[in-house]
């Protein structure tokens, strides 16, 4: 697509892709026969599917200019709820019904966030920190503090473990969902209204954009995606450990922010997000193949998160500075201490 070509340089747009390619070449050369194998590469991709689904859903509230901190809590709730439904019914509950109930519960959780933010006008950040904690509490009640592992039907776990032509099915889910979100953001009026709301809520409202409705929907979508991620996670694992979602929150934000500095810099966008996901994943994989101690991996991941956010911040700041017409900035810099 030729959009925004002029305002962002080639490097700004594709720097991330170049970095990713560089890492792949480096590992391919220094780890011959280990890195560039089908099994290894498909492993890298399938490791990113759950986090990727959470991050895809998160793109919508972020693009609309609101934070949703509760996605970790919602995901945990989904993992626990779907497995618990099987356990309490002794594995008798029909699988589509269990999934449907879980998805509805996830939507309800998103609805709570949406009502708090849109109707009660609570700051989104505060509101979703609060609800996140509530959702975690609910999960603990349901799970009774233990991992739910009884009576999980085989047909359910196959949802997370099957392969299609040697491609793990979870990877297929990620690709399909990514295509849907990409289409919605870039090719529908809703996507346009979303970006407009995020870039200037009051100006968008005065142009006739239904900003409240847009924000309402984004909370439903991010919760729905976190729930899908939770269901897939439960299926893949075949059990429901309490508090799994929390560890997906920060990576989701990091890849969303890192992604917003690429492909379409300054906008939360799907291709950027995908590249960002793999910058993190390939790096970790390479380090593991070098046989580096386990704690280095955690540290690396933490460092990537920090660098990602710093990069996203400085890039947006630079973008703002270039646009001299940003009112606050103009004067704030014009009136020195």
């Amino acid at each position: 697509m030729s959009e925004r070509k002029r305002s962002a340089s080639f490097f700004e747009r594709y720097g991330g892709v170049v970095l990713l390619a560089g890492m792949i070449v480096l590992f391919a050369v220094t780890l011959p026969g280990k890195f560039l194998t089908y099994d290894n590469l498909i492993g890298v991709v399938s490791n990113q599917t759950i986090g990727g689904i959470v991050a895809l859903g998160l793109l919508l509230p972020l693009a609309a200019g609101v934070f949703d901190i509760s996605i970790g809590g919602v995901m945990t709730l989904a993992v626990v709820l779907v497995t618990w439904l099987f356990q309490t019914t002794g594995g008798d509950m029909p699988i589509p019904l269990a999934i449907l109930i879980t998805l509805l519960a996830g939507l309800a959780a998103g609805g709570v966030n949406a009502v708090l933010v849109v109707v009660a006008k609570v700051d989104p950040f505060i509101a979703t920190i609060g609800t996140s904690s509530v959702f975690l509490g609910l999960s603990e009640v349901i799970a009774n503090g233990e991992t739910i592992a009884k009576n999980i039907p085989h047909a359910f776990t196959s949802i997370g473990r099957t392969e299609i032509f040697e491609v793990p099915i979870t990877t297929v889910y990620l690709i399909v969902l990514a295509l849907i979100v990409w289409y919605v953001l870039d090719h529908t009026p809703f996507g346009r209204n979303l970006y407009a709301t995020g870039a200037g809520r009051e100006a968008a409202r005065l142009s006739g954009v239904p900003t409240s409705r847009v924000i309402f929907i984004t909370f439903l979508v991010s919760a729905l995606f976190a729930t899908i991620a939770g269901v897939v996670y439960g299926a893949r694992l075949g059990s429901g450990p309490p508090n799994t979602g929390a560890s997906y929150l920060l990576p989701a934000y990091a890849s969303a922010f890192l992604g917003s500095t690429m492909i379409k810099p300054g906008r939360f966008n799907v291709p950027g997000l995908i590249v960002a996901l793999f910058i993190v994943a390939v790096g970790i994989n390479g380090l593991q193949l070098y046989g580096i101690p386990f704690w280095v991996v955690d540290t690396y991941q933490g460092l990537v998160l920090i660098v990602a956010v710093v990069l996203a911040r400085t890039k947006t700041r630079k973008a703002k500075r270039g646009k001299a017409t940003t009112p606050g900035a103009a004067q704030a810099e014009g009136v020195p201490a």
Partner: protein, 504 residues
């Protein structure tokens, strides 16, 4: 102060091309030019906000050389700026905005002496004749008050000020306020302060300027004492030809015929400054609305946009009573409103294309799909028709000059072909040529049945296209002018008549 040989190149645009510019103590130097000619860019280079190209000549103030791109040094040298976008932070109070980036008065233990700060803020606001609580948030101010606060901020430490640069300060001000601003400027020049004054209003230049510099496409095309330039010469320098000032006088005839259907009906509406305001707007007419600051003129669009709550009375749009109007409710009824605050007219981070189609994406939508190719074509045509410069629909709106952003905003609303269009300051900051074009487009839409409410502090606009002018005084429609009565002089007299009009 002087700069020589300044150039500034943005990625693809040469905004300033070897410009020389100087200001003497105690003079008013007017800087004029068409939209996008580089006026704001020059002001921002002097402010240290933009760094000019490396081959630019020296920048000196009172004989001392100053570095480029260093706002602090510029401030210390006594230069003060009122930017086109004003640069106020909405969420902060007046007091905090006045002290932005500066030190607070502190007592023992770094405690801020709020009492003293409040007195100081009140004194600064008094300079511009504002009597407001310093704790009020800027978001709650009218556009006029915002401008005044920005002026107050620039003037507050009067002793240190050597030179004040005002970038289109009067674009949002009605004439009564312009008079006050001019008094303030004269007081400052009497103390030896230099003034750089950017405006599109030639009558203001005539009144206040000692010297004039005209920019065109980033180049100085004329400079010298004001007396050497008459209006015709200025216009031809600005436009780049001898086209002259062409306001669409013919448009008025076209708007004489109008239907009976009432499109907008205010029934005893009390809201903001409005007190039981009554009026009706019908198909095909262009109705001007004029009034002093605080008369309630801008509360009419404010009410329709849902920014000013209705306390009593009824607003009827296209025959339907709308209790708490907002843009999403008005659109299905064929009504559109252009707000006056600059920052609400468009979305800077979106492209021109995205801004211009935002008000109605339905014609571009098939099922779920937004037809981007068609949108590009349509945006290209609009940019062409409204003469938006540069003609690049994929540029972010933020990179356009103020006047061109304004054209995009007007284009956005005319595109959806409403039945009723309420325009709040549609020619604010637009150059003479573009102003005539905008009014022409509005007038020809009216000839096809569009009803227009034109709230403009530029009386020439009203004179040029209106078939009726409502003068608002004390929150109600005090007089209605028609035909020959619609001229600058009568409108001004009516605005000022009966000094009961509250000055707030």
């Amino acid at each position: 102060m002087s700069v020589t040989d300044v150039s500034k190149t943005f990625v693809s645009t040469r905004a300033l091309d070897r410009v020389d510019f100087d200001v003497r103590a105690g003079e008013v130097h007017a800087l004029i030019g068409h939209n996008g000619s580089g006026k704001s860019t020059l002001v921002k280079v002097l402010a240290g906000f933009h760094k000019p190209d490396a081959d630019s000549g020296p920048f000196t103030v009172e004989g001392k050389k100053l570095p480029y791109g260093d706002p602090e040094a510029v401030h210390r040298a006594g230069l003060r700026f009122i930017h086109q976008e004003l640069g106020l932070l909405d969420e902060l109070s007046l007091l905090e905005n006045l002290r932005l980036g500066d030190r607070y008065l502190t007592g023992r233990g770094w405690r801020v002496r709020w009492g003293a700060e409040r007195r100081r803020a009140a004194a600064a606001l008094a300079i511009v004749g504002l009597d407001l609580d310093p704790d009020v948030k800027v978001a709650d101010l009218t556009p006029i008050e915002r401008t005044q606060v920005a002026v107050a901020r620039a003037m507050q430490d009067e002793d240190a000020v050597r030179l004040v640069l005002l970038d289109e300060p009067t674009a949002t001000l009605p004439s009564s306020e312009v008079t006050k601003l001019f008094e303030l400027i004269r007081r400052m020049t009497a103390h030896g302060v230099g003034i750089v004054y950017v405006s599109h209003r030639l009558e203001e230049i005539e009144e206040i300027a000692d010297r004039v510099t005209v920019l065109r496409e980033g180049r100085v095309v004329g400079t010298g004492p004001r007396s050497e330039f008459d209006n015709a010469r200025l216009v031809s320098l600005i436009v780049g030809s001898t086209a002259g000032e062409a306001l669409p006088a013919a448009a008025r005839e076209a708007t004489q015929v109008h239907g009976e259907a009432s499109l907008l009906d205010f029934q005893a509406v009390t809201a903001g400054e409005l007190r039981q305001a009554d009026f009706v707007i019908r198909t095909g007419e262009i109705v001007g609305v004029a009034g002093l600051a605080g008369s309630g003129v801008h509360d009419i669009p404010g009410v329709l946009l849902g920014r000013v709550p209705v306390e009593s009375g009824h607003v009827v749009v296209a025959g339907r009573v709308i209790d708490d109007p907002d843009p999403a409710k008005l659109r299905p009824l064929g009504a559109a409103v252009l707000p006056s605050p600059r920052h609400l007219k468009g979305i800077p981070e979106l492209t021109i294309r995205e801004n211009v189609t935002l008000a109605d994406l339905r014609p571009l939508t098939r099922g779920w799909n937004l037809d981007l190719r068609r949108e590009r074509r349509e945006a290209a045509a609009i940019v062409e028709r409204f003469d938006v410069k540069p003609r690049e629909p994929e540029k972010p709106l933020a990179e356009l000059s103020g006047g061109n952003q304004q054209k995009v905003a007007v284009a956005k609303w005319l595109r959806i072909e409403p039945d009723l269009l309420v325009l709040d300051e549609p020619t604010q900051g637009v150059d003479v040529g573009a102003k005539a074009e905008i009014l022409d487009l509005v007038a020809s839409a009216a000839a096809e049945g569009l009803a227009v409410v034109l709230c403009s502090s530029d009386l020439d606009d009203l004179e040029a296209v209106c078939s009726r002018v409502l003068v608002i005084r004390g929150g109600r429609v005090a007089t209605e002018l028609t035909g020959e009565q619609i001229n600058r002089k009568t409108i001004t007299e009516e605005c000022y008549r009966s000094e009961k009009a509250r000055v707030s």
